[in-house]
Amino acid sequence: MASSRSVTKCLPRLFSTICRQSRHLPSHARAPSNLLRPSSLCSLPSRSISRLQASSPYTRSFTTTAQRQHGHIKPPKPGEEFVYLLNIFGNLLYVTFIDKDGQDYKFAVSEGDNLLDIAQANDLEMEGACGGSCACSTCHVIVTEDDYYDKIPEPEDDENDMLDLAFGLTETSRLGCQVVMKKELDGLVVRLPSMTRNLQASDFQ
């Protein structure tokens, strides 16, 4: 019993370590889409990481960069690890972000996480200037498939009002801070709009 509990404790942390290591690489060298990066696990408090350091062979390459804390991606609560482990093999939801360079990143996330929090917890380029209050449009995402777009509850006036100001608005645009993951959205793929191109000075003359 004791040993099985320690396995359940270690596994999420292992993911977390992998996830953190990948974050320190330049983004072009970062994990491609086939590496799952469970965002919920990325937000484990530093306490658990240090315990992992003492017990895991993977810790040697772990860098001591300041911890990122992200209060809104739910880490498993004490005692929930077993359920969590099951989730890893079963009930986690997946969402893929395609960044402006066309690189895609797939994350395993929990029900209830919103796309802004997921993107920020994973260092994707999404500013979220108003902190998810539906007041800035800097978390604009484009849902790539109509079927998924239809499964997201319709935007409220507030969201549509901000979308009206978003750059590169499309028929399937949404604000990342307003899209909350749920079972029906498992497998969702969203694109981050490319705001700027590589402009040339001559373009301005």
């Binding site: 330049p26 809104h72 380029e125 007041a135 100001l165 700027t196 000075a201």
Partner: protein, 552 residues
């Protein structure tokens, strides 16, 4: 309200594309401080001064810090308190918009970032316990300077009565007054002169100001609006607000929201970029929702009968205007407002019993060649109408001004557009003629960059200012990594000493007056506790002496 307040941490890991080398170095003699050509060395230290602590300064800093780990940035701010228009412009009843301050706080916590508050760059006219640094001094001590000092003045109408009659206020000053901008503390607008207020201009600032005049005072009490504004607004007699535009509801302001890509018409069309209406739908909807405030129906003939064919943003905005306030009748509510179209201000008329006071505004009636064409020409019809105006608020746009020292630094200022001449990416440029004046060309002024309202003109929300700042941040890092010419007094690395060097030149007495980030946090804490006592988010200090007194 913020879901993320206090929890977000720095998070940018951005991809980097190989820098393209541009023809730098050709303008070596443009400034009095000769630029230093550098060997491209990605790791050599990079010292940058930022002038202005608004969104443009902070977002550019964040981009540069994330791409150049060796960068050391010093941000100079004229006031002891940071954040520019986020603190002194954004309406008090929009606290969620100010959440970007959390991100700025994060940026400021970088060990490579120093806040140099209470220091004006260029302008030595500031009195008292203030510190002034000349632009030339910055040029001696930095590799690069980012000009991001926004727009400190506003446009005038240039019509009779504007500067002679009392009761006519600049919306910029009115906003500064209710938001605690020290320069505007003494505006003391008289809101008891009568019931009719006329706001000239139909931008978002006009709508913000209208909302302040119409909103329930008890709602405002819970915001961070200044106490002096609350007490005047509580006494206000204003009941009827006219927001007056020279064009119609279908016409949009001159500049698109994302005007930093304006040269890319085809791209803009391909991406379905919308032009920004002078005001945005969120702000219009907010006014429609104010309790006990009615909207006088908009002129129906200026809006197409069939809205279906309109682009999405315009269609939705027109729907809001046409719906108006169905549950509130102007005859029954205590306050009301209207959007008055096709009226161009002609002159102000004085009261017969008080010839110094404004009584009304005369407008030329204009006609649109095609009322439904967003770009329609507008002409005067020869008719005029008069609107009663106990108070007038002029809200026709902000205006940037050049800094003393620009000429010496080789920086050109476009007076018409109110911007520092730049290449659209934020590189400061100047027009240089051949010796025989037969031809001229735009050249980059090495090491100098601009961002935000000073770069694009005084339009755009925080989202567009942010994108624009990122563009400038990319240009700076691209140039640095490509080995382009920057500032620097002599060749070789580590020549720039940044704030330490500037401080030495300033002398102890001046340098003592500088406000650090930690000191700003002390001011912040006191403001918050003053607010708490009154059930508000914060009670701002409205003059510099009071801000500094916290630090004594």
């Amino acid at each position: 309200m913020s879901l993320l307040a206090g929890s977000r941490t720095s998070r940018r890991v951005l991809s980097w594309k190989p820098a393209v080398r541009r023809g730098h170095g050709r303008c070596k003699n443009l400034s009095t401080v000769s630029p230093t050509p550098r060997n491209p060395d990605a790791s050599s230290p990079f010292r940058m001064a930022i002038v202005g602590s608004g969104p443009a300064g902070f977002y550019t800093a964040s981009r540069v810090l994330s791409k150049l780990p060796q960068a050391k940035i010093d941000m100079y701010e004229a006031l002891p308190v940071p954040f520019g228009l986020v603190r002194h412009g954004v309406a008090p009843d929009h606290p969620e918009v100010k959440n970007c301050q959390d991100r700025f706080d994060e940026i400021a916590s970088s060990p490579n970032f120093t806040f140099v508050g209470n220091v004006t760059v260029g302008d030595s006219s500031q009195p008292g316990r203030h510190c002034t640094v000349e632009l030339q001094s910055l040029m001696r001590h930095y590799d690069s300077i980012l000009l991001a000092y926004g727009a400190a003045e506003d446009k005038k109408l240039g019509i009779f009565g504007e500067s002679t009659l009392t009761g006519i206020y600049s919306a910029r000053e009115f906003v500064g007054w209710y938001n605690g901008l020290p320069d505007c503390t003494n505006l003391h607008p008289d809101l008891t002169r009568g019931e009719d207020a006329v706001i000239i201009g139909q931008g978002n600032v006009a709508l913000d100001v209208a909302r302040m005049l119409l909103e329930d005072i008890d709602t405002l009490r819970k915001t961070d609006i200044t106490e002096h504004a609350l007490s005047r607004l509580a006494e206000s007699r204003v009941k009827r607000v006219h927001i007056v535009g020279r064009r119609g509801p279908m016409q949009v302001s001159n500049l698109p929201l994302y005007d930093f890509i304006e040269p890319f018409l085809p791209l803009r069309q391909a991406l379905n970029v919308t032009y920004q209406a002078a005001f945005t739908i969120k702000e219009a909807r907010e006014l429609m929702k104010l309790p006990d405030v009615a909207f006088h129906p908009v002129n129906r003939t200026l809006i197409p009968q069939d809205l279906k064919s309109l682009p999405r943003a315009s269609k939705r905005l027109m729907e809001v205007l046409l719906k108006g306030t169905p549950d509130a009748d102007p005859l029954e509510t205590s306050k009301s407002w209207s959007l008055d179209s096709c009226l161009s201000p002609k002159h102000f008329l004085a009261r017969s019993d008080s010839p110094d006071s404004v009584a009304s505004t005369e407008f030329d009636v204009t006609a649109l060649a095609d009322p439904f064409d967003p770009k329609s020409r507008v002409e005067k019809t020869g008719e005029a109408i008069i609107l009663p105006s106990d108070i007038v608020l002029r809200s026709v746009g902000y205006k940037s001004v050049p800094l003393p020292g620009f000429v010496e630094a080789g920086i050109q200022f476009d007076e018409r557009r109110g911007i520092v001449c730049n290449d659209g990416f934020g590189r400061v440029t100047r027009l240089v003629s051949d010796s025989d004046a037969s031809s001229s060309a735009r050249q980059q002024v090495p090491g100098l960059y601009c961002a935000g309202w000073l770069k694009r003109g005084p339009t755009g929300v925080i989202a567009s200012t942010m994108q624009d700042a990122f563009t400038t941040g990319d240009a700076i890092t691209q140039d640095w990594l490509a080995g382009a010419s920057f500032l620097g007094s002599h060749e070789g690395s580590s020549r720039a000493h940044g704030w330490e060097g500037v401080k030495e030149e300033l002398g102890l007495d001046q340098a003592r007056r500088v406000v650090t980030w930690d000191q700003w946090k002390m001011i912040d804490t006191v403001e918050r506790s003053r607010g708490e006592a009154q059930g508000k988010e914060r009670e701002k200090f409205t003059n510099v002496a009071d801000m500094l007194a916290v630090l004594d």
